[in-house]
């Protein structure tokens, strides 16, 4: 019993909930600020109109991402929903581990990719999804699959899914929007207005900064969470060799999947692009920690 004492998700849950709220607030402010910059860059006459719309847009943007971030993540990888009838082992493994963890049953998806990988998403355990690649179901045996699924359920139980998916979707979209903003200057000619050009400069700086910010946010969010999720996986399965086996198989295959969108990479079980510049801790280190359990 002593070994599996780390039962309580409560600290992690409240931390993740707070971070999600702060993130949504920051995004709100950033969108309004973008609106402010844009309104000056175009014409101060439209200031109130543009500000009015940017408040409405940022509100609806945040509400939309909060309720649909899991669907966006699933759609971006082309995942398909599965049923008990066509994926018995996958379904049974999740059902068993839900009993072990006391979590409600998530919706299950499979995405096309020969790589071994998986992710979980959703806004809370009651509205959660688990998605694995076709390669995972083909290459892993039952105990290894249990390890991977238990890791994902660990993310669900700790509300990592809420914060991580929100970061992926919201920050990812901010990057896209600022890119659009940057592009729109190519079609503008009026540049002699001094005030306008200052704000154009700010806009450009913002647009250049956005992808860098995205990069740092993603680096920061993932590493510790992976160790914690590995630990909860062991708590649920009581069987570290399963997860170790899965990690070893992933290490051996080492085939990056370039089709996966960069923004959602941190959601995955292991980094889909391979080991370098990783959003995840190195696999060897994860294995070493698991072997000590």
């Amino acid at each position: 019993m002593e070994k599996y004492r780390r039962t309580d998700f409560r600290d992690q849950i409240s931390r993740n909930k707070w971070k999600s709220v702060i993130l949504m607030f920051v995004i709100f402010v950033v969108i309004i600020f973008l609106g402010y910059v844009i309104s000056y860059a175009f014409d101060p006459i439209y200031f109130f109109v543009i500000m009015f719309f940017s408040v409405i847009i940022s509100f609806s943007y945040i509400l939309f991402s909060y309720y649909n971030s899991d669907k966006i993540a699933l759609a971006s990888v082309g995942a398909k929903k599965i049923t008990r009838e066509n994926h018995k082992q996958y379904y049974d493994v999740v059902e068993g581990l839900c009993i072990a963890s006391g979590l409600p049953m998530p919706s299950l998806y499979v995405m096309p990719s020969s790589q071994i990988n998986a992710f979980a998403s959703g806004r809370n355990p009651e509205h959660s999804v688990v998605c694995v690649t076709e390669g995972t179901l083909e290459k892993l045996d039952k105990k290894e699959l249990e390890g991977v699924i238990a890791h994902e359920l660990g993310h669900i139980g700790s509300y990592d899914i809420r914060y991580m998916t929100l970061v992926a979707v919201m920050v990812g979209m901010i990057a896209i929007m600022s890119e659009l903003f940057l592009r729109s200057f190519r079609f503008r000619s009026r540049s002699d207005d001094k005030k306008g050009s200052i704000f154009i400069l700010i806009g450009i700086i913002l647009a250049i900064l956005a992808p860098i910010v995205v990069y740092f946010v993603q680096m920061a969010i993932s590493r510790k969470r992976e160790y914690v999720a590995d630990a909860s996986a062991v708590k649920f399965t009581r069987y570290p060799p399963g997860l170790i086996g899965a990690l070893k198989k992933i290490k051996q295959e080492d085939q990056p999947d370039k089709r996966i969108n960069k923004a959602i990479a941190p959601l995955f079980f292991t980094n889909p692009f391979g080991e370098l510049a990783s959003t995840h801790p190195p696999i060897e280190k994860r294995i070493a920690i698991l072997e000590k359990m």
Partner: protein
């Protein structure tokens, strides 16, 4: 004067909140134990429900192994009529070993082994056994959180007030834990 009054009111409110939150904590963790207990029963019942089908299928192919089949039906009866969780888990263990014999016998009957119905039942039984093991594990985990709350400060203080006592774990031997898979 007014400030002191508000201060006292604030402290009283805080104390009430702490008392209520500990009361709720005990209630939530207690409910979790009850739920996980009923989950064990659900899984054991599911397992017992699968047995008659299995026996029907096996009977069609295996004519000379009456005692092995009888052992399974008896073990199932014992499981269904068992009262209390300890007794049920014990009966389930017996059923498990009786089933093992049946599956070992099935190895000698290629037609039975090729029967899709049989394979499906075998798979279902193995999955259900996993779930029984997981539900027992979760039951013990729930008791662990409850007992932690009872035994650590300040929970132990509130446990005394609300009359909550640490609960007994469901005993699972380590060797038994590893035996959940039907292997040949």
């Amino acid at each position: 004067m007014e400030f002191v009054l508000w201060l006292v009111l604030g402290i009283v409110a805080l104390i009430i909140i702490v008392f209520l939150s500990y009361f709720n904590r005990f209630a939530i963790l207690g409910n979790r134990i009850d739920n996980s207990l009923s989950q064990i029963n659900v899984q054991l019942k599911r397992r017992a429900d699968l047995i008659p089908n299995l026996i029907e299928t096996v009977k069609g192919y295996v004519k000379h192994e009456k005692s092995a089949i009888k052992a399974v039906t008896d073990a199932r009866k014992a499981l269904v009529s068992a009262k209390g969780i300890e007794e049920k888990v014990k009966a389930d263990k017996k059923l498990e070993s009786a089933l093992k014999t049946i599956f070992a016998i099935a190895e000698n009957y290629p037609n039975l082994k090729a029967n899709e119905n049989f394979l499906e039942l075998q798979r279902e039984l193995a999955t259900t056994e996993d779930k029984v093991a997981y539900s027992r594990q979760y039951y013990n985990d729930s008791i662990l959180s409850y007992n932690d709350l009872c035994k650590t400060f300040p929970g132990t203080f509130f446990a005394g007030i609300y009359g909550k006592k640490p609960k007994e774990y469901l005993q699972i031997a380590e060797s038994e834990k590893k035996n959940v898979k039907v292997e040949f």
